[in-house]
């Protein structure tokens, strides 16, 4: 790709992002957000429809499709993080570690010839199970201390991978690509004259996963559980006095979140067909959190544009790719300082439609 071309695409991306942030603050933008928030479940179909349209349009572009799949996978992981601290207020700085656990599970189990969908599920479950080791300390401690435990865990995880030779040490492991219904996702789809990159397969897989879990997370938010999570996040003591089982919901949200992050990690590993400890640094964990914070803590829809911003822009705009951590660090600092609810703040849950008001 010519460098001028790159600049055009990059500036178009940046412009459209800023435009959408701008629109989010206008009346029309708020109406649109209200539609996304209040419409029935069918609105979630927007994700696979739009994703499929973009995927088909780009069906020959390996790199662009890989970016698209990466965005979707990161969005899935960030929905897990949103459940954890957007809803339940459980701080998890070890997002990338659970993502990595999913990936390494896929590497180990995929090599044994298990069905790929089972491997994905196993990625989620193993990551949740290992997360359970952290639950006791996270529950016993509050705020800063819980944060420290997850930070210590992500550093520990990385050093563990670096020195553990069964898991490939610093060189990492090869991962079997997924095979679903006899069809290897490593070969692109061919129908007549239509030939697609194999990344399109992963775009489709990620779209399906994202749509399902997005819908589940939406239901979770708009449920008795969602109300419980919100109230214990805002005031754990007050919630306990009114009968909310705070410890139980902390555990549940941590586990559910880690399942999603683990599944995302397994998908990512299968797509890349290779993972190494250097993918799972503390910096990466911070980038994942940046997606959630920049979008708007607790706002599911905001995760998608924020994931595009964090994943695609630095890749497309090579001038800043070297500076990506710096740029996003500064962006997050500014957002937290001046607009702590994020660029697209979460809107309040209501049941107006359900009760016919």
């Amino acid at each position: 790709m010519a460098s001028e071309n790159q600049w055009v695409i990059a500036s178009a991306l940046v412009a459209s992002l800023f435009l959408s942030f701008g629109i989010a603050r206008t009346k029309a933008g708020r109406d649109f957000a209200a539609i996304l928030q209040n419409s029935g479940s069918w609105i979630v179909l927007l994700i696979p429809v739009a994703g499929l349209a973009i995927g088909l349009a780009l069906h020959e572009e390996h790199f662009a499709l890989m970016m698209l799949a990466t965005v979707l996978i990161y969005a899935l992981a960030c929905i897990g993080l949103t459940i954890q601290f957007g809803y339940a207020g459980v701080i998890n700085f070890a997002g990338i570690a659970f993502f990595g656990i999913g990936g390494y599970t896929a590497a180990v189990l995929g090599g044994m010839g298990l069905p790929s969908l089972l491997v994905l599920l196993a990625g989620g479950l193993v990551s949740a199970a290992i997360g359970c080791i952290l639950i006791l300390p996270v529950l016993r401690t509050k705020g800063h201390y819980a944060a420290l435990i997850t930070i210590a865990f992500v550093l520990l995880f990385r050093s563990f991978l670096e020195v553990n030779h069964t898991l490939g040490g610093p060189q990492g492991l090869r991962v079997e690509s997924a095979t679903i219904a006899g069809q290897s996702l490593f070969t692109g789809i061919r129908i007549g004259s239509f030939e697609a990159s194999f990344y399109l397969n992963y775009v489709l897989l990620a779209l399906v996963l994202l749509a399902i879990f997005f819908l589940m997370a939406r239901f979770l938010e708009k449920s008795w559980i969602g109300i419980n999570l919100d109230s214990m996040r805002e005031d754990p003591v007050g919630a306990a006095v009114f009968g909310v089982n705070v410890a139980y919901w902390r555990i549940m949200s941590f586990v559910i979140g880690n399942v999603l992050i683990g599944i995302a990690g397994a998908t990512f590993a299968m797509m890349q067909t290779f993972i190494a400890p250097s993918n799972f640094t503390f910096q990466q964990s911070l980038l994942m959190l940046a997606i959630v914070v920049l979008g708007g803590i607790g706002n599911l829809w905001a995760v998608i544009p924020a994931a595009i911003l964090v994943v695609v822009v630095p890749e497309k705009l090579q001038a800043i790719s070297e500076y990506r951590f710096l740029v996003f660090a500064i962006l997050v600092v500014l957002v937290l300082r001046f607009r702590p609810n994020g660029l697209f703040p979460r809107s309040m849950r209501n049941f107006r439609k359900e009760v016919g008001q």
Partner: protein
């Protein structure tokens, strides 16, 4: 026996560096109930500004070891102190009242910005840099063990700085104000203590300790890199937490405990020394499960 002594000595030196960082965390937490996670990267900044000071002395053609050392330390402390004040003034103090998570994440990101700036804008910043040898490396024999003179001096320097800090907090007017704010910020304000100034002074003081720790770390390993602060920050924070956030003695004990954990692991499993951080952090996590508020805080919770 001799080897044991060497291990003990190196562990003590690491402990002093960790304790210096931990005391900073404890001071910030004391006055403002916040964790300023950029602390580790402020340390890196200190190390690099010390290096820059040395390089500029060299360019001027001055080669006086003692003067260089003092100049390097002063510059490092000046830069880190100012950085501490700036972070406090523009980011942490205005965020008082936000959720703890927001402040934690924000300061983490400030730290990231600092070390990314070093990586990107310092010539050759992405690679480890040699740190000058400013202290004589003569080996000294103590009971059959050989200990480098510079390490001994560093140990003395670190302990001295901690003692002076402790004395300042306990016996000076500033220390009194810091302790008053730590007890109850609002009341201290009513009693006429300039809250913001005390907080910023605390940030300066804590960050200067990080500056000293950064230079010490550079002198000890003869090398610095842009990433050193992340791990040292987490270690310092762990030490402060395990000791009991808010207590200076807790921070010191925590720092030495962490170094002891690492040293013990290397001592017993020399062929698996790569796992020393895994072991140390796992132990910290277990310790925190047993004592969620730290070892010291519960028993005699004397804050700062």
């Amino acid at each position: 026996m001799a080897i044991l002594l060497e291990y003990l000595f190196n562990g003590a030196l690491l402990g002093v560096i960790y304790a210096l960082v931990a005391v900073g965390f404890t001071l910030f937490f004391g006055v403002l109930d916040v964790i300023k996670f950029s602390h580790g990267d402020v340390l890196t900044l200190g190390a690099y500004s010390g290096l820059a000071a040395f390089v500029s002395l060299e360019l001027l053609g001055l080669d006086l070891p003692v003067v260089s050392l003092i100049f390097v330390l002063v510059v490092a402390m000046l830069v880190t102190g100012l950085a501490g004040i700036a972070i406090g003034q523009f980011f942490v103090v205005p965020m008082r009242g936000s959720p703890a998570f927001n402040i934690l994440l924000m300061t983490l990101m400030i730290g990231t910005a600092i070390h990314e700036c070093i990586r990107l804008f310092v010539p050759g910043g992405a690679n480890p840099k040699a740190f000058p040898t400013l202290l004589p490396r003569t080996p000294i024999e103590i009971g059959g063990a050989y200990i480098r003179l510079d390490s001994l001096l560093l140990l003395v320097l670190g302990i001295g700085v901690i003692v002076v800090t402790n004395w300042m907090v306990r016996h000076t007017k500033l220390g009194l104000a810091i302790r008053a704010v730590a007890q109850d910020g609002d009341t201290a304000q009513i009693m006429g203590i300039p809250f913001r100034r005390v907080v910023l002074a605390t940030f300066a003081l804590g960050s200067m300790l990080a500056g000293v720790a950064g230079v010490m770390n550079g002198l000890y390993y003869s090398e610095i890199n842009f990433n050193v602060g992340v791990l040292l920050g987490v270690i310092g924070f762990s030490s402060a937490v395990v000791g009991g956030l808010g207590s200076i003695w807790g921070a010191i004990i925590g720092g030495f405990s962490f170094a002891a954990l690492q040293t013990v692991w290397v001592l017993f499993f020399p062929e698996m020394s790569g796992y020393r951080d895994v072991f140390a952090f796992t132990t910290i996590i277990v310790l925190m499960t047993i004592w969620p508020t730290g070892i010291i805080a519960e028993r005699y919770s004397e804050r700062v």
